[in-house]
């Protein structure tokens, strides 16, 4: 095991998977010579050549659209979108083709592409470098979504995404690219899609989170130590969702908070709450609260700390459900 930063673990995953499978290729803006604006693809072009690590034109729909064709020619493209909010021009290809093409061939052809992108805020960046767009992706049939919060999971989920015969989108929490450091298994390492992780055990309330919000949840749990025993569940995979893992936590705690950075309405937290309201209503002893970004544009960065769910807001929500 090596200690790696989260972004280094991403890079490691790409190296291992490209080495292992000659059909894997990486494509995107500035992923080649530069190694990506976050250096997530550093060294790939040197090692695997400009044909397998491709600097593309500045055209996101072109990237994802040609990736569909590359799949048909036998490739497994890993497309980088440079930032969250710059992935939107490719949504049309995602919804109308990436998520549907396997179905169109009645399962005869696979579209084993992966899309990865840095996402989320708190990085003091200019406008539109801070979105959390997972809802747009997870709502799209035929598309799977995973979001790591640790270096080991980043490596393992990316590897799982690349090997999965279905299109998988990996959102990488850019805030913790270089803040999260941890042990990462060397060589091949897979974290299967669809399994949540208990980040912290507890018995009074379950705090459900993913991405950079897992750290916020953990810190809130710690701050609450003297008041309540908080369980923190790191979803890791949004689709497929580990419903059973969630339900067993709620069966134990009877209380839930869901934390998400994205705007609230129809965010993934709503889906989690809906699953609980359908499948665990008689276990629930309190309202299920969502702690989320607000339904307004992600703000000027001097104000972003007030927008992104904070430890204080999670603590407050936990206290409210405990008092209910």
């Amino acid at each position: 095991m090596k200690e790696l930063l989260l972004v280094e673990a991403v890079n490691d995953a790409l190296h291992v998977e490209m080495e292992r499978d000659p059909a894997v290729m990486v494509m995107g803006q500035d992923v080649g010579l530069l190694g990506g604006v976050f250096r997530a693809t550093a060294g790939l072009q040197d090692r695997y050549g400009a044909d397998r690590c491709v600097d593309t034109p500045l055209a996101e729909a072109g990237i994802l659209g040609t990736a569909v064709g590359l799949c048909m020619a036998g490739w497994k493209p890993v497309c980088e979108m440079q930032y969250d909010a710059f992935s939107y021009p490719a949504l049309d290809q995602l919804i109308n083709h990436v998520g549907r093409y396997r179905w169109r061939t009645r399962g005869k052809m696979s579209f084993p592409l992966a899309i990865r992108m840095p996402y989320g805020g708190s990085v003091r960046a200019p406008e539109l470098h801070d979105d959390s767009p997972e809802t747009y992706y997870v709502h799209t049939p035929g598309v799977k979504v995973a979001i790591p919060s640790t270096p080991a999971d980043a490596k393992g989920l990316i590897a799982a995404a690349i090997r999965d015969p279905d299109p998988v989108v990996i959102f990488e929490p850019k805030l913790i690219y270089r803040l999260a450091r941890g042990e990462v298994p060397e060589g091949e390492h897979i974290v299967p899609l669809g399994k949540a992780r208990i980040a912290r055990e507890g018995s009074d309330v379950t705090i459900i989170a993913y991405g950079a919000m897992v750290g916020v949840a953990e810190r809130a749990a710690e701050a609450l130590e003297s008041e309540a025993s908080c369980e923190v569940v790191d979803l890791r995979s949004l689709k497929p969702l580990d419903e059973d893992g969630l339900l067993s936590s709620i069966a134990k705690t009877g209380r839930a908070i869901v934390v998400q950075e994205a705007p609230r309405v129809c965010g993934f937290a709503a889906e989690v709450v809906a699953v609980l309201a359908e499948r665990a209503i008689f276990d629930l002893r309190a309202p299920v609260l969502r702690v989320t970004g607000y339904d307004v544009p992600y703000p000027y960065w001097q104000l972003e700390d007030a927008y992104v769910p904070s430890e204080a807001r999670v603590v407050d929500a936990v206290r409210r459900v405990l008092a209910a």
């Binding site: 290729m25 044909d51 593309t56 034109p57 055209a59 729909a61 072109g62 994802l64 659209g65 040609t66 990736a67 569909v68 064709g69 590359l70 799949c71 048909m72 020619a73 036998g74 490739w75 021009p89 049309d92 290809q93 109308n96 083709h97 998520g99 093409y101 396997r102 179905w103 169109r104 061939t105 009645r106 399962g107 005869k108 052809m109 696979s110 049939p141 035929g142 799977k144 999965d164 015969p165 279905d166 669809g194 689709k239 497929p240 969702l241 419903e243």
Partner: protein
């Protein structure tokens, strides 16, 4: 060889009109190939005409008519090898017939039955693309990917004049140029996007002129002249195989029929112009060419038409004989490894449907 007639806006033509313009010929096309082309034209024409009737009879759903587009489709496909891939839009729904796809498959597509969804690998024909221009990058990606794999395959994408306004066309064409993809962007300029004339679509002098923005040659050809289309496509294929990259072909024609069965063009179209087009439609033009060349007799033509009708009779019969699709097909095939709730959903649905 084709000639460029400046009087007609630089359109390449091979077929003459008997009087003013003498017939040309295409090098390397012998009697057999000429007849095979005719067979393909008639097959498509028959498919189209029967489909309109089947629609009226309620046997297929909404249908996008391709009457007078047959020369563009048959001419270009004939210039490809079997290993090359075709990326059709709804306007080329039946193009798979030229690759041995049963008519019943295409008819099933228009009947909304799962039997209408094929495996592209079986025919080298991608799925019918409904959202305009979005398959242009697919074709380009395929061509680029095949080249990277060291395979000698060309990809051709078909789209309309309206499609050239979409960002997806632009991005696909940009990638094609940069990657030197062995791709052919085949624009069926039938001069209408539903009710929108090409003059309201773009201020570009011609659609072929757009090619320069992508660093590829742009070729204009008379879309009603199957031989000119064949020849222009063959040249593009040769360029692609030689590693010279993509070509944009603008085949100029005219939509002399409704956009689709649901459309009423009388509100917007110039009926006189439609009449002219109908008189000069592409299958008849080629038929007269073959007659002038002594390649086709009336008896042969009749036989070919009868064969095509038989294909369609057989096709609609098999399509209609398809058993109703099982409800499991709602859930199947969307994922290789489906998320667990889908199995639960199917069970629940089966329980409710009883």
């Amino acid at each position: 060889m084709s000639r460029v007639l400046p009087a007609e806006g630089g359109l390449r033509r091979v077929i003459g009109d008997g009087d003013a313009l003498p017939d040309g010929e295409v090098e390397g096309l012998g009697r057999d190939q000429l007849l095979a082309l005719y067979r393909n034209l008639v097959l498509l024409r028959t498919y189209d005409e029967r489909s309109v009737i089947y629609h009226r009879q309620g046997r297929i759903g909404t249908y996008a008519i391709f009457w007078n587009h047959e020369a563009m489709q048959a001419g270009s496909v004939s210039a490809l090898e079997e290993r090359d891939w075709i990326f059709p839009s709804y306007r080329e729904s039946a193009i798979g017939l030229l690759r041995g796809m049963p008519a019943s498959t295409v008819l099933s597509w228009w009947r909304g039955h799962p039997a209408g969804w094929w495996n592209p690998q079986d025919y080298g024909v991608a799925s019918i693309c409904v959202p305009i221009a979005t398959h242009v990058p697919h074709a380009v990606g395929f061509a680029w990917g095949a080249r990277l794999k060291g395979e000698d395959r060309v990809a051709i994408a078909y789209f309309g004049d309206g499609a050239t306004s979409e960002g997806a066309f632009h991005e696909g064409a940009t990638f094609a140029g940069v990657m030197k993809a062995p791709a052919i962007l085949f624009c069926n300029n039938n001069q209408w996007a539903i009710s929108t004339p090409v003059s309201a679509q773009t201020a570009a002098p011609t659609l072929a002129d757009k090619a320069i923005g992508y660093g590829m040659p742009g070729v204009r050809v008379d879309g009603g002249d199957v031989l000119a289309v064949y020849e222009a496509t063959r040249e593009a294929v040769e360029r692609a195989r030689a590693g010279e990259g993509p070509t944009l072909i603008e085949a100029v024609s005219y939509r002399a029929a409704p956009h689709a069965t649901a459309d009423d063009p009388s509100i917007y179209i110039d009926e006189e112009r439609v009449q002219e087009e109908r008189e000069n439609e592409c299958v008849g033009r080629y038929e007269r060419y073959l007659e002038r060349a002594g390649v086709l007799s009336a008896a042969e033509a009749e036989e070919i038409r009868i064969d095509a009708l038989a294909v369609m009779r057989e096709g609609i019969a098999s399509a209609e004989a398809e058993p109703p699709a099982d409800v499991s097909l709602v859930f199947d095939h969307a994922y290789a490894n489906p998320p667990p709730p889908l199995a639960t959903d199917l069970d629940e649905l089966r329980r409710i449907l009883g």
